[in-house]
């Protein structure tokens, strides 16, 4: 099960351990969060000179998922669309559209109908 806690780095850190445990030292796809990548989990050399071909599709899927997560999180945290707790992302997006706030279309494409917000169940 994917861990959902903390910022983007922690996510890639864990995923790193599980998916790439065998492959080893691939640099995390750190575009996820604006914080600088934490150096603590990387004493290993940065970015392999030749990327492993077998990892490519997996990495792309992971990148896409991270991108989706990031968009979802940014949408949740945006104050203009109101509180995020208690409604699913799709409902909040539709509410924002109905109120005329023009939320980005990319978000509704990636969230399924019953996906709750980031803080659901934790606050």
């Amino acid at each position: 099960m994917r861990s959902g806690s903390g910022g983007g780095d922690m996510k890639s850190f864990f995923r790193q351990q599980k998916a790439h445990a065998a492959a080893g030292s691939v640099k995390p796809t750190g575009g996820v969060s604006k914080k600088a990548s934490q150096p603590r989990h990387h004493q290993k050399p940065v970015a392999q000179a030749v990327p492993d071909l077998a990892d490519d599709p997996r990495r792309r899927i992971d990148e896409e998922e991270e991108e989706r997560e990031r968009m979802g999180r940014e949408f949740d945290m945006d104050m203009r669309y109101g509180p995020c707790l208690g409604v699913t992302r799709a409902q909040r997006w539709r509410r924002a559209a109905a109120l005329g706030l023009a939320p980005p279309h990319a978000v509704i494409a990636v969230c399924s109908d019953d996906q709750p917000c980031l803080w659901e169940g934790r606050v």
């Binding site: 104050m79 203009r80 109101g82 509180p83 707790l85 208690g86 409604v87 699913t88 409902q91 539709r94 509410r95 109905a98 109120l99």
Partner: protein, 429 residues
């Protein structure tokens, strides 16, 4: 003799909770939609009011700079009962007897928007405002961190459709607080009223007047079920039929009324309906006799409808009674006027008035000004014709409790004039 008819259309769809699905959400969403909606209304009004001043958010306030902020008011009240007082260690500080009005000279107002809150001081009297109102304020931030208010802008009366011209006298009768089943209920008085309205009473003149009545609206608290059945203990089987007796009696009497003319019945705080606003219509199975007639109409509280083009909005009184507990005005009509100026029927919901936690709308917002605004279950009959800035005219009506006063209110649709129907059964003049 034929009774006059009027075209009726109910505008209650916004109060129906059937389609809502509760997912465990809290009340932040209803406040958000309320602020969003009211802010969109206030922004153009603000530019017309003081065009040279910038509009900022609370977080963007700069000390000493004159500006305008828009947000929801929160009134911090010392005496407001809080559930947490039960757990407080210093029980003696809180009075055991709850006062009827929770105002205190130390109450202060706070303005809140999405970015933050700021305490208010200056030309904004806390006694006139309640939590949940959205206003625009002109002022500046002081060094103490408060916002010193110079001027307040409320949304004002909403735009109104023109009153249609009706050539003949058509009357609507308003009733409230029948309290069938209580000690103060006098069945003879209610029967007199029914006989008068249905034309069984009086000579031809009286019958002519009665034939001009096109509708009866019963605004809440029609039954009174003895509180001893509500203390949490199981009801003995011999008492179980006693609980339903007031409703059955009401049904019998309403059947006579409904056989003669259309009627709307709204739930009130004492009726067998849900507690939080908007109260859903009383179920048809409670009125096994009256609901067989198509003139019987069970409506929500608040209730909005249109009769021959004249728009009505009314409640059973809970919204104004709550304002009375948390703010001050010279009479109930002034509270009603304020709710129209704030464009919100129940600004204290959900703070101190029970309300459904809507996620995407606030059904109590008043979008178009009604021609008639009525509230039920009041202490005495009061009425006034309110005039707005854009020539809106609203008839405000406070309907007294029938069981206490024997008074019903009659409104003429042609000119929005109000009079009373008073019934007395005491033998001494």
């Amino acid at each position: 003799m034929e009774r006059k008819q009027a075209e009726y259309s109910s505008l209650d769809e916004r109060y129906a909770i059937q389609g809502e699905k509760y997912q465990g959400q809290q009340y932040s969403h209803i406040y958000y939609t309320r602020l969003h909606h009211m802010r969109n209304l206030l922004h153009p009004l603000v530019t017309a009011w003081k065009p040279h001043l910038p509009v900022t958010t609370v977080l963007g306030l700069e000390e000493g700079k004159d500006c305008i902020i828009v947000g929801t008011l929160y009134k911090h009240m010392k005496l407001k009962p809080s559930i947490l007082d039960e757990y407080s260690k210093e029980r003696s500080a809180i009075p055991l007897v709850k006062p009827h009005n929770f105002m205190h000279p130390d109450d202060h107002l706070i303005l809140e928007d999405e970015s933050g809150r700021v305490t208010l001081a200056g030309a904004i009297p806390p006694a006139a405002y309640v939590t949940g109102t959205v206003v625009a304020l002109h002022g500046k931030e002081t060094s103490a961190g408060n916002f010193l208010v110079e001027d307040v802008l409320e949304a004002g009366l909403p735009p109104q459709h023109t009153l249609p011209s009706i050539n003949e006298d058509k009357y609507v009768v308003f009733l409230s607080g029948l309290s069938v089943g209580s000690d103060t209920f006098n069945p003879l008085q209610f029967q007199l009223l029914i006989d008068h309205i249905t034309g069984h009473l009086g000579d031809e003149n009286d019958q002519t007047i009665a034939s001009n009545i096109v509708r009866v609206v019963v605004a809440g608290n029609s039954v009174h079920i003895s509180p001893r059945f509500f203390n949490g203990q199981t009801v003995a089987s011999k008492d179980q039929s006693r609980i339903a007796e007031p409703i059955k009696e009401l049904d019998i009497m309403l059947t006579q009324l409904v056989a003669s003319l259309p009627m709307d019945i709204m739930p009130g705080s004492n009726d067998p309906a849900n507690f939080s606003l908007p109260q859903q219509p009383l179920h048809r199975c409670l009125f096994s006799g009256a609901s067989t007639y198509n003139t019987f109409s069970s409506c929500s509280n608040p209730h909005q409808f249109e009769l021959d083009g004249v728009r009505f909005i009314g409640t059973s009184g809970q919204n104004i009674d709550d304002l009375y507990k948390y703010s001050d005005a010279k009479d109930k009509l002034e509270f009603m006027e304020r709710t129209l100026r704030w464009r919100h029927l129940a600004p204290t919901a959900p703070n101190s008035l029970g309300c459904y936690p809507y996620t995407d709308k606030d059904p109590f917002l008043v979008e178009s000004c009604p021609h008639v605004y009525f509230i039920g279950n009041q202490d005495k009959y009061e009425t006034r014709l309110l005039e707005g800035m854009e020539k809106q005219r609203v008839r405000l009506i406070c309907i007294p409790r029938f069981s206490d006063s024997g008074v019903a209110v009659m409104l003429n649709l042609r000119n929005l004039e109000c009079s009373t129907l008073s019934f007395s059964t005491s033998l001494d003049a």
